[in-house]
Symmetry: C2
Subunit: 199 residues, 2 copies
């Protein structure tokens, strides 16, 4: 019988473990308040060396997170567009997805919304420039062409729509909106949609 309260077996850390732990820490404390020591502790290895096996440096972790999250969002949006015809239905499902993520994986939305990516990765594209969000603008443009959405600049329409949605998600994440996300979900959708819908 050995007394290994602190395990003596070596911990093998995977790239995915590092990403999950980092995302959580970045969302909680911010990128700059998170040290590699924090990450190393979170994945329960003894030194930060293990992390350098997977990532060149701390920035590379943030880059991987950003691109992974946006890739997966982009795929979800493709799927949504495939399954629905009308812009209103597509937008509705996109909003559903974002609210679901806010509830079930708040770190992801926190990372996308609150973290200012340009401060961490000056070279990186801002949200609106990414493929995922361009697809949303495209959905809106189609809605304009199909007379579902009033004919204004699609970027402006995006702006109104997502201004309301993202501000709502922000208030939920910060805890300034006390009740659960579900109760605001329908109302936020209505307000956002009506800000762009054809009367």
């Amino acid at each position: 019988m050995t007394l290994d309260t602190e395990s003596t077996t070596k911990k093998v850390v995977t790239e995915d473990e590092i990403l999950v732990a980092s995302l959580k820490l970045f969302a909680e404390k911010g990128y700059f308040n998170t040290s590699l020591t924090d990450i190393k502790d979170a994945v329960e290895i003894k030194t930060s060396s293990g992390i350098y096996q997977h990532f060149k440096n701390k920035q590379a972790i943030a880059e991987a997170l950003y691109s992974n999250i946006l890739d997966s969002l982009s795929i979800s949006i493709d799927d949504i567009r495939r399954r629905n015809r009308k812009a209103s239905e597509q937008l509705r499902e996109i909003v559903d997805l974002l609210f679901k993520l806010t509830e079930q994986a708040p770190e992801i939305i926190q990372f996308l919304w609150v973290i200012n990516i340009k401060e961490i990765l000056p070279e990186e594209k801002s949200l609106i420039e990414t493929t995922a969000f361009n697809k949303i603008v495209q959905v809106i443009q189609n809605g304009i062409n199909d007379n579902e959405i009033r004919s204004i600049d699609s970027l402006l329409a995006y702006n109104y729509f997502f201004g309301i949605i993202s501000h709502t998600l922000g208030l939920i994440l910060s805890g300034d909106l006390e009740k659960n996300a579900e109760s605001y979900h329908a109302q936020a959708w209505m307000a956002a949609w009506q800000s762009i819908a054809k009367k």
Copy 2:
């Protein structure tokens, strides 16, 4: 005739100079990417010691900025409320003020909007909890009481209204909206107001 391309006279730095320079740097590069060396260079003194005469540490500079900006915003809002009766007029002037600031002093809006104050000053109140923004919620609540604004939770109404406004200002600041702020000003106001106005 002396060759003092680099002035030999001692530079006396004021608290205000430090605040102005820091605000600019924080807005441009972010708080964590700004070192005291950067600030010292910006106010053209030889060492950071001068800064410590005015501020206990780097955080204290951010604190002073945050509270100064919000105090002055709060005073402006008081003034606006005094000069106008209807909620629509008051909100309209508040929006005017924010757009004017975005054009003439973008650092201020950048600092309020993009900088995540909780990351820098974990103890500090978030925007929505500050006196200035409480006053805006109050304006909205009055508008609800006076039947100008539809009767929903005032925080939600605030959320819709300022979601649109702040998202628009954010796009302008980031340069993603190409034209000048003026051209979006009226449209954003309309969309924001209609998202909460009684039909």
